[in-house]
Symmetry: C2
Subunit: 252 residues, 2 copies
DNA sequence: AGCCGGACTTGATCCTGGTCAAGGGATGAC
DNA sequence: GTCATCCCTTGACCAGGATCAAGTCCGGCT
């Protein structure tokens, strides 16, 4: 019988085509990532400036708050989180980063990272040196536009996260967004494995640990979802959407 | 004696150089807006694709949810808000838009606006047709980079807004950010006129109307700020920063 | 001037969600 | 295997903020 770690590891490995050496032009999640608007030839150009990171263990730091922006990262497999820690040691999780999503966009403004980025599960990221990416984008309008679109998507996600009102709404919205953001092999994921712990979810949703448990129990009792440890199954999509509130539901 | 409206109108008019016909290359707030990284010649090119809107009355819609993205707007004077209204008619204010800030970035992802944008005070906006802006940005790397930086700033602001924990922290953070975002004629605004009503602030901070009153009273009692109607004076910047929480304070 | 309506404050009461603590189950170290 | 630890759930209690309602001030309207 497989342990929780085994299950997560398995999920990460299969998300990744872990050992594959696909370039951007053939990347299985390229349609959600930077190559999203690119013709194969352009994607190949993008691939030239890209490194693939070594495998990162869970709990490893990718960037530290205060670091200079060197590169934009794209999650190839696994899950990472952006966190800020206050002086009492409380960790606030600003955002999770799932496969195909970009990391570092918030550092472009000042050139300095304002949060720590840490792996939640084992992960691999693609590394796009910032200056190279800039100059490539200035030569390939489609790349620039794709980059802007991903930026915009990111902003939309933050809007949705910020707007949810009650704790229950935030949880429902969170589950919906994870279901939509986890690598789509076809359609909506109605059954998926959460990469992160309850505590991490709580810190992201700005609720207490215990409250989160109770809320999950409530959602289950109402028949919207079934949750078994990290495994989530969405039973009633529409109901969940209504629970998230009309305001949250707009965002993909 | 001048009424509240008079005072706001006056502030807007002087922010704007209301009647001026400055191009982007000479815009008094250009260093915070799209021309931020541009040489004068490039700013002049940017100016060629720009329209200046007519004066908008308070309460007027600039874009409707569902509209196609036609243009990115930059606030030239006044204040606008992005709102979503749920089926019960509750208005959630996603964001306020102050002079030099861009509107419409969230619509780039799908090409469709997901929120209504409405003027809070009378306002003027600069209109940058989206396709023209794209093609100009692809020809001027500095413009592209400036655009990305503004995008990033926007995202940072959302991070800060989403992360604040208690209602008091959100209020303190909100006031700080407004002080920093309102047009800087030199340094930090330690005395400024809020463009929006209490109700609008409450809807933005996700607190009840009455609660907001009490919180403002509390901040005053603690000597951090003095508030008289729309006029805010920051008395103890550091204390206010501490009240906002370490997590919020990073963002400019 | 007098009236009305909207913006803001203040008070009383209720409930959501935080805090603290106990307990179970699985994981990992020895 | 045993033990310690971490993650999660559950319970009891408390507080921050919501809700509802009254009351004030101010500006606009007739």
């Amino acid at each position: 019988m497989s342990t929780r770690q085994d299950k997560i590891a398995e999920a990460v490995l299969q998300d990744a085509n872990w050992v594959s050496t696909h370039g951007c032009d053939q990347c299985p999640i390229g349609q959600y990532c930077l190559p999203l608007d690119l013709a194969p030839a352009q994607a190949a150009a993008l691939n030239k400036i890209r490194y693939l990171s070594r495998a990162l263990e869970a709990g490893q730091s990718l960037v530290h708050s205060g670091d200079r922006l060197q590169a934009i990262y794209a999650v190839r497999a696994g899950c990472l989180k952006s966190v800020r820690v206050d002086e009492e040691g409380n960790e606030q999780i600003i955002d999770f980063h799932l496969p195909s999503e970009l990391i570092g966009l918030d550092a472009i403004y000042s050139g300095i990272h304002t949060a720590d980025v840490v792996t939640v599960t084992m992960a691999k990221v693609c590394i796009f040196p910032y200056q190279a990416l800039l100059s490539l984008a200035s030569r390939h309008p489609d790349l620039m536009q794709g980059w802007l679109r991903l930026f915009s998507k990111n902003l939309l996600g933050q809007y949705a996260h910020g707007v949810d009102n009650t704790a229950d709404q935030r949880l429902a919205g969170f589950l919906l967004r994870i279901a939509l953001r986890l690598p789509q092999r076809g359609e909506l994921n109605e059954r998926f494995l959460l990469p992160m712990s309850r505590i991490e979810i709580a810190r992201h949703l700005r609720v207490a640990n215990g409250t989160l448990s109770r809320m999950i129990a409530r959602l289950q009792a109402q028949g919207m979802v079934r949750v078994d440890d990290r495994m989530v199954e969405i039973l009633d999509f529409d109901k969940l959407k209504r629970a998230a509130g009309a305001l949250a539901s707009v965002t993909l």
